[in-house]
């Protein structure tokens, strides 16, 4: 199987799935992106990315956790798979390696 690559936004969403653990569902992830990264993102974009990641096997999902404020609708909770975790890690390492090649400016004015 050819290796799956992740886009920037996909990676972001995948990290948040890993970070939010049991609370990783569409709306929550969108909220996190908005509050932490101050980046305006449409709800549907997050959802579509989540479904794509699930297709690629990086996350899996299950239904659960209906609350009153959701009008009794259940959430779809996403959890990262080990494949997803491995990809995240390898991407991070690859990135760190690359960063080492960048000449660091030690002094700043």
């Amino acid at each position: 199987m050819a290796r799956e690559f992740l886009g920037e936004f996909e990676e972001l969403v995948l990290i948040l799935v890993a970070a939010l653990r049991d609370d990783a569902y569409g709306a929550a992830i969108a909220d996190e992106i908005q509050t932490r990264l101050n980046r305006d993102v449409n709800l549907s974009a997050v959802h579509v990315t989540l479904y794509r990641l699930e297709d690629k096997g990086f996350i899996k999902s299950s239904l659960g956790g209906a609350t009153k404020e959701r009008g009794g609708r259940r959430k779809r909770i996403f959890t990262i798979t080990s494949a997803g975790m491995a990809t995240l890690k390898s991407m991070r390492e690859a990135r760190m390696d690359l960063w080492k090649l960048v000449p660091q400016l030690k002094f700043s004015v």
Partner: protein, 882 residues
């Protein structure tokens, strides 16, 4: 806590109008697996935003967010399934519909026949409208093609507009204005030429002089020839395909030479292009095109800015501003001619056919008004037929209540019942549609001859089928909508118990629809009578000359130069009473001017006077009556080639007490008035008689190209014409002998009125017939429903007459109402129509009662036999069953 609860209630999506729709769409389109969490997430965010942004904004964002989910990443995850149930039910509906239609064959026949006739009429009229709308729309870059018009302010309330322009305009536009890509003159001189190609000799006048750019502006496709060089040479000619075939037979005409002869002249021409035959939907009609450079190389360039003799076509450069160019050309005439105050402006070719009537200098409709009326007539025909359907279906609703009840009891939803009834009406409409195609196919030749068109049903055009299909389905849905809503509303429990909803409101609706139907019918009937009266009135208008035993010919060949020898020879045959040479046939105006001057003329007077050149004996030949003075007579008064006759209208205009001997001048020549003739119809029988000046001219000059021949009374016209033909052939052997009867040419002026009359007659007849069909159906139903009532009335001693009166009044009441309601409208409409004629019949008050009476009698005739039969029925046979 209560506030929280309230808020919670608001999360219920069903309480929000705008978002409701978005959510519904989402629920319907989104994969069911994903829908729950998406909706949850949306609601969760909505809740948060209700607090932070306020409810209104939150609702808006909810809609927005929900719509965002309608994206491929979500929608394509859905697995589409097709439910076979609905297909099965559909076939069941069709089967039931067919059975019901077969069982009620009378009603089916009335419905289908009514709709068929309505649709056939609408289809024919629709073809006509489509043709009108397509005239001159098809050229490449049609939006950039303009026709130059003139605007002249005669007084503050009288601004005249016309489209004839000087020949010199087109070359000036092309050379001096950068916004103009091409400009071309288009001249319709209506001269007859003899075309000689080998052995073939043909007379034709259907051709035009044009600039070579003409075909670059109007993209008529060339079969052979190159559009850039096609008329470059003065001796080149372009023929249409069929004219080329006529001249050269099967041979390829391209590159061949032919000779064109007129009078004593003969010129060789080379065919440099063959055009595909012109389509029907154009206002340009020609068999051949000749270059202006031919005239100019023989007679010199015409630079007169005051001679409006051609139409000027302009194609603008892409992206150039029409408004700017309009500003630039407005004063072009004034700049070139001193004292001229005519402005020029451009009018789009695409609007020329339908919107070219100007009133006081601004566009004021035109033919489009007729097109709209015809379109409306088509719609009315279909509406009348639809009303039949609605009325018959609702009237018979009681017959189908049990079926509805059973379907509902076995689980049918209201929606599926509506679908069922709509299927039924669409089925009937489709049947009617198919039959109407057949009817239209057979009626088209007749319709074409009435309208003088060459319409055909575009069987191969997908657009036609699309429109036709859409129209049929629309008719089916419109007709079926109300009955289906009504029938599907019935409650099974009530039906089974025998409780039937009140009849009142529905029978009132039916009556209202009948009022509408017969209102249309009344309007059409009134218009039929008025159109008939107007046509008769115009035809009976006194012409002012004697049309019978009068023929005219265009002078050709050697006759042109020496008409006197022809005259002498004709008189010698004894078959001819009198001969007069004129500038144009007496049925056809040729030239007019506002430039004629006379003593005491008000300089601001710009009344247009018709010119008509004659040599002599006009009273003997045409039979016009001389009121004052004498006729022109060159034998006795050789100076008569500079004498003139005027008509009464011109006398009135000029205001002379005694016109005899007064001088009038035109284009630098002077004529002395020798007599006044009684007004006769020279231009249009619809209008007042225009002032005419009949200028004397020595025959054989350029002025007189037509000869009128009065045949001797008391001998058969054929014999006399044979004698004339013999003379013509001996004197002028090269040219074929052609002649026209004046009475036939005069009758042609009414062809428009005749076709209006026929169309009104046929289609109002159709509308009335369809209306009566519906009436027949309704009365059948009424009698069926009231048969026991009739029986009881008879048992109780009711007389046949009273019963007939009761039932007839029931049928006639809506018709009487329609007469009351629609008479003013019909009155107004026909007055409006008559206003378009200067010479019109009076609109008598009795026309409306007469039309109404006709309508009532027709309606009575339709139903009276049924009613009589019902009223005479033996009550035993109707009452015994219980």
């Amino acid at each position: 806590m209560s506030t929280k609860n309230d808020r919670h209630n608001k999360f219920d999506v069903s309480s929000r109008g705008g978002s409701l729709f978005a959510m519904r769409a989402l629920r319907w389109l989104c994969p069911p697996v994903l829908y729950e969490e998406i909706e949850g997430d949306l609601l969760q965010r909505f809740h948060r935003e209700c607090v932070t942004l306020g409810e209104k904004k939150a609702t808006r964002r909810l809609t927005w967010n929900a719509l965002h989910f309608l994206r491929p990443g979500v929608l394509l995850r859905r697995e589409w399934t097709v439910s076979l149930t609905s297909f099965y039910m559909l076939s069941n509906y069709l089967m039931i519909s067919l059975r019901i239609m077969r069982r009620n064959s009378v009603f089916t026949a009335i419905n289908v026949l009514g709709l068929t006739l309505g649709m056939t009429g609408a289809l024919l009229l629709g073809l006509w409208v489509a043709r009108e709308l397509s005239v001159d729309q098809f050229y490449d870059d049609a939006d950039r093609i303009q026709i130059v018009w003139n605007r002249e302010r005669k007084s503050d309330s009288d601004v005249a507009c016309w489209s004839a322009t000087p020949r010199v305009l087109a070359p000036t536009l092309a050379s001096d204005f950068t916004a103009v890509e091409y400009a071309a003159s288009f001249a319709d001189y209506n001269d007859s030429y003899l075309f000689i190609a080998g052995e073939q000799r043909v007379m034709r006048n259907q051709g035009n002089f044009v600039d070579p750019e003409f075909l670059k502006i109007l993209s008529f496709p060339l079969i052979s020839g190159e559009v850039n060089s096609v008329l470059g040479n003065p001796n080149s000619i372009v023929l249409t395909e069929s004219f080329a075939k006529l001249l050269f037979g099967g041979k390829n005409a391209f590159g061949e030479t032919l000779t064109i002869a007129q009078g004593d002249y003969k010129f060789p021409f080379t065919v440099t292009g063959v055009l595909k035959d012109l389509p029907d939907n154009t206002d340009f009609h020609f068999d051949y095109l000749l270059p202006f450079s031919f005239i100019e190389s023989n007679y010199g360039k015409e630079e007169n800015w005051q001679n409006n003799s051609v139409v000027t076509l302009v194609k603008l450069k892409e992206g150039s501003s029409k408004a700017l160019l309009n500003d630039q050309i407005r004063d072009l005439k004034k700049k070139n001619v001193k004292g001229e105050d005519t402005e020029l402006f451009m009018y789009p070719l695409k609007r020329n056919h339908l919107y070219s009537r100007f009133e006081n200098g601004v566009p004021a409709g035109g033919r489009i008004e007729i097109v709209r009326m015809i379109g409306l007539l088509a719609v009315i025909l279909v509406v009348i037929a639809c009303i039949n359907f609605v009325n018959l279906s609702t009237a018979r609703a009681s017959r189908r209540t049990k079926e509805v009840a059973v379907r509902k009891v076995t689980g049918a939803l209201r929606g599926s019942l509506i679908v069922q009834f709509l299927c039924e009406s669409v089925l009937i409409a489709a049947m009617a549609g198919v039959i109407s195609l057949v009817f239209a196919y057979f009626a088209l030749p007749l319709f074409n001859s009435l309208t003088q068109q060459h319409l055909r049903i575009p069987w191969n055009s997908p657009a036609f089928w699309l429109y036709f299909g859409a129209a049929v389905i629309t008719v089916g849905l419109l007709a079926g909508l109300y009955p289906s809503l009504l029938l599907s509303r019935l409650m099974p429990a009530k039906i089974m118990k025998g409780v039937w909803l009140g009849q009142g409101s529905r029978s009132r609706l039916r009556s209202a629809l009948v009022v509408l139907q017969f209102g249309f019918a009344l309007t059409l009937m009134v218009s039929l009578i008025v159109v008939y009266k107007q046509t008769r009135f115009l035809q009976q208008r006194s012409v002012g000359y004697d049309r019978n035993q009068l023929i005219y010919q265009y002078l050709t060949g050697t006759l042109t130069g020496n008409p006197y020898a022809y005259r002498e020879a004709l008189m010698a045959t004894g078959a001819v009473a009198s001969v007069t040479c004129t500038s144009s046939p007496v049925t056809q105006r040729m030239s007019s001017t506002s430039g004629i001057a006379w003593a005491g003329k008000d300089p601001s007077d710009k009344t247009v006077i018709e010119r008509f050149a004659i040599d002599q004996h006009v009273s003997a030949t045409l039979g016009v009556e001389i009121l004052v003075g004498r006729d022109l007579d060159l034998q006795h008064y050789p100076a008569d080639s500079s004498s003139a006759l005027i008509n009464e209208a011109a006398w009135k205009l000029m205001g002379f007490e005694n016109p005899i001997g007064e001088l009038i001048s035109d284009s630098g020549r002077e004529w002395r008035i020798a007599g006044v003739v009684k007004d006769f119809i020279f231009t249009s029988p619809y209008r007042r008689v225009e002032p005419i000046v009949m200028q004397g001219a020595a025959a054989g000059q350029n002025m007189t190209g037509v000869v009128h021949i009065r045949l001797v009374a008391g001998r058969s016209a054929r014999e006399a014409i044979e004698a004339v033909a013999k003379v013509a052939r001996t004197l002028n052997p090269e040219y074929p002998f052609e002649y026209h009867f004046v009475d036939q040419e005069y009758a042609r002026k009414f062809s428009n009125e005749k076709s209006t009359l026929w169309i009104t007659a046929v289609f109002s007849g159709l509308a009335i017939f369809i209306g009566c069909l519906g009436l027949l159906g309704l009365s059948t139903y009424m009698i069926e429903a009231r048969i026991k009532e009739i029986g009881i009335r008879k048992v109780m001693g009711g007389s046949v007459i009273r019963i007939v009166r009761l039932l007839s009044m029931h049928t006639l009441r809506p018709i009487l109402w329609s007469i009351v309601v629609f008479s003013p409208g019909a009155w107004w409409a026909m007055n409006w129509w008559l206003q378009s004629y200067e010479y019109r019949t009076a609109f008598f008050w009795w026309i409306i009662p007469a039309a109404a009476l006709c309508l009532v009698l027709l309606a009575l005739f339709t139903v009276v036999f049924q009613i009589l039969r019902a009223a005479r029925m033996n009550p035993v046979s109707t009452l015994r069953s219980e």
